[in-house]
């Protein structure tokens, strides 16, 4: 049985009938036309690629279908998230946004509206690492955060529980489980910028890529975070310097250790694990 989820443009809905799909579009009305109520069995989620589209149409459609708002320019678009706040009544909502200067404002607004957040760091510019740290601190310490901010949330959980989870999985970018399908039907690694050509079998891509990085005996070979990174930050440019992202890993690990100690102290006091 094919368990792969395909992220497809709305035009390819018919071609992928019977497969698990995430359907993306700039226009909510296109989604409604292609995915009428009653024909949503294989639909995993929809992605709205333009925030100034009229999302009210989705309010009476597909109750419970997850909706992801895809931001291209968070520093400019952050306020537009308010247009979509009411969709939360009917849909689980998530905002995905690139880690570029000014993205913290979008995270703050998304969190204030109770949207889950998925950061797309790519290979972040050194100039944005400070803002990443600021957002991580906001996620860890601000009581208004009621939804996950990924990848921080799952990484923290993985480090807390010692779970063998990599950023490829957390970010839903491992082609073994998820494929991004271009308009011409080509399947690529589901990570922006989409369309980077990969030689070989996509299903083994992460494994082979990681083995290659370790065999090179470069920065990854001795990296204490490789188990949770899996070379995520070395793609597509292998010469990317990880100094900045390692600092973020370190902060998450510190929080996980702090939390583990806190839970142990709680256990000692109450004799039970908090729920």
């Amino acid at each position: 049985m094919n368990l792969i989820v395909y992220n497809i443009p709305v035009e390819l809905v018919e071609a992928f009938r019977g497969q698990k799909v995430i359907v993306r579009s700039h226009d909510p009305s296109e989604l409604l036309r292609a995915l009428p109520n009653g024909a949503l069995a294989d639909l995993v989620a929809v992605q709205l690629l333009r925030l100034d589209s009229d999302a009210e149409a989705l309010s009476s459609w597909g109750h419970g279908v997850p909706v992801e708002l895809v931001m291209a320019d968070p520093a400019a678009e952050f306020a537009k998230l308010y247009r979509h706040a009411k969709l939360l009544d009917k849909h689980p909502m998530r905002v995905s946004l690139p880690v570029v200067p000014g993205f913290a404002k979008a995270v703050r607004v998304a969190v204030a509206l109770q949207f889950a957040v998925k950061l797309e760091p790519g290979q972040p510019d050194p100039g944005v690492i400070g803002e990443m740290s600021e957002v991580l601190s906001f996620f860890l310490h601000n009581p208004s955060v009621g939804q996950p901010v990924e990848y921080f949330h799952s990484l923290l959980m993985a480090m807390l529980h010692g779970a063998p989870l990599t950023l490829w999985e957390i970010q839903e970018e491992d082609p073994a489980a998820m494929r991004y399908v271009l308009a011409d039907g080509t399947q690529v690694v589901p990570r922006p910028p989409f369309g980077t050509v990969v030689t070989g079998e996509l299903g083994n891509f992460v494994e082979i890529f990681g083995e290659g990085l370790l065999a090179e005996r470069g920065e990854c070979a001795g990296c204490e975070y490789f188990g949770h990174c899996g070379g995520y930050f070395k793609w597509p440019r292998r010469d990317f310097s990880c100094d900045g992202v390692k600092a973020v890993f370190r902060e998450v690990r510190g929080a996980a250790e702090e939390l583990r100690g806190d839970l142990a102290a709680f256990d000692q006091v109450t004799g039970e694990t908090p729920t």
Binding site: S60, Y82, R83, K86, R108, V111, S144, G146, H153, D262
Partner: protein
């Protein structure tokens, strides 16, 4: 608005039986007939069907609703109930009255239609609420007598109160004691004033100096935590802030929601539709339309330029104001449009009570943290911040 619940503040009359000096409403002699109510009901149900909304809450207020008769309400409930049943919808009712026209003949409809509960208003001390050509003391005496009589009949009475200059001068302790100890009210809410409608001296002086008001709310927060919280006294919105900062489910008031256009509308006795009772009774330029016009309610809402302004407000605030950097953005969103507009004359600026709200938020945050710290030997910032999110995953 588009969720499973839809709320309408319905004014079946614009007429009132008292003459409170600071009232924002432009009174008229209009009453809604049962025939008109049937039209309103059908249009609201059409809207709910089209938008997959299951439940409707009608908040009945005026004017003064007790200028209608209990029999009028019984017939109204029948009209609405039958129409809703035909469509498979659920309608609930809530009543807001000044209680001046209350008598035991209302007990039946209050029990049957309104869950044996009413909301009313009183200030401490009362400076502006009064009957025509009578003193505030006369009003206070009538109100107190009627509230006591209703409570003796088993009716749950919730009170909304607006602090005035004397409230602040006397302090939060006196205010709390008056309602809880003297009147025995255990469910009340404190609102901030706004000077809607035609301006007069009472409205001008009802807009208080913000430092003093912020201090009053901070003190009231502390007093409620010390004296009321454990005893189950409801003091909105302070009790809901406690729930929020303790990580429990909180129902914050409309002034602090992401966008009030997503929450409710108001319809007055003439059929005018606006964002809330404040707008529908004070600012005709901001009416969305009239429900008795030959247009569906959904279309009226979608095409309203006035409503589009409301929808755009939070977005403008995020761009132009300092809200996005505020630690309390998630529980304020820039505040109330009608308070903003009536006090500043500008629609697209943040609520002028910002300072007061922040005083409440920070006081409650501190007190909730102190209570949490008292319960566990130590608590790390990351766990204290949102332990349920982390541990529930």
């Amino acid at each position: 608005m588009i969720g499973n619940q839809f709320s309408v503040i319905l004014l079946p009359t614009n007429k009132c039986n008292v003459a409170c000096e600071y009232c924002f409403e432009e009174k008229t002699a209009d009453f809604m007939s049962h025939e008109q109510l049937a039209v309103v009901t059908e249009k609201l149900l059409d809207h709910m069907e089209g938008n997959a909304i299951r439940g409707l809450t009608l908040y009945w207020q005026g004017g003064e609703v007790m200028l209608l008769t209990p029999e009028w309400f019984e017939r109204a409930e029948e009209i609405i109930g039958r129409a809703a049943e035909r469509r498979g919808k659920v309608v609930e009712h809530s009543l807001q009255t000044n209680m001046i026209g209350y008598s035991p003949k209302w007990n039946g409809v209050i029990a049957g239609m309104f869950g044996n509960s009413v909301g009313t208003s009183m200030d401490y001390p009362n400076l502006y609420r009064k009957a025509k050509n009578r003193a505030p003391e006369h009003y206070t005496a009538m109100w107190t007598r009627n509230v006591r009589e209703a409570r003796e009949a088993g009716i749950q009475v919730g009170v909304i109160s607006i602090p005035n200059k004397e409230t602040v001068r006397l302090g939060a302790e006196s205010f709390y004691s008056y309602f809880v100890d003297e009147l025995g009210i255990t469910d009340f809410q404190v609102n901030t004033s706004f000077s809607g409608g035609e301006i007069n001296d009472a409205k001008k002086e009802s807009i208080l100096e913000m430092d003093g008001l912020a201090g009053f709310f901070a003190d009231l927060t502390r007093i409620w935590v010390e004296r009321g919280y454990e005893k189950g006294v409801k003091l909105g919105p302070i009790d809901q802030l406690m729930s929020h900062f303790r990580g429990e489910g909180a129902c914050l008031p409309c002034i602090w929601r992401p966008n009030c256009t997503d929450e409710f509308v108001s319809i007055d006795a003439r059929g005018h539709v606006a964002q809330c009772d404040c707008w529908v009774t004070s600012y005709p330029d901001y009416w969305f339309g009239n429900i008795f016009d030959d247009v569906s309610f959904t279309e009226l809402m979608q095409k309203s330029k006035a409503r589009q302004k409301f929808q755009a407000r939070p977005e403008r605030l995020m761009k132009d104001e300092s809200c996005v950097g505020c630690d309390y953005l998630s529980i304020c969103h820039g505040g109330c449009p009608v308070r903003t507009y009536s006090i500043t004359g500008d629609f697209f600026v943040k609520d002028p009570y910002c300072q007061v709200y922040k005083a409440m938020f920070s006081t409650m945050e501190e007190m909730a943290a102190r209570m949490a710290a008292g319960r566990s030997r130590r608590s790390l910032p990351v766990l204290r911040a949102h332990g349920s999110l982390l541990l529930g995953s």
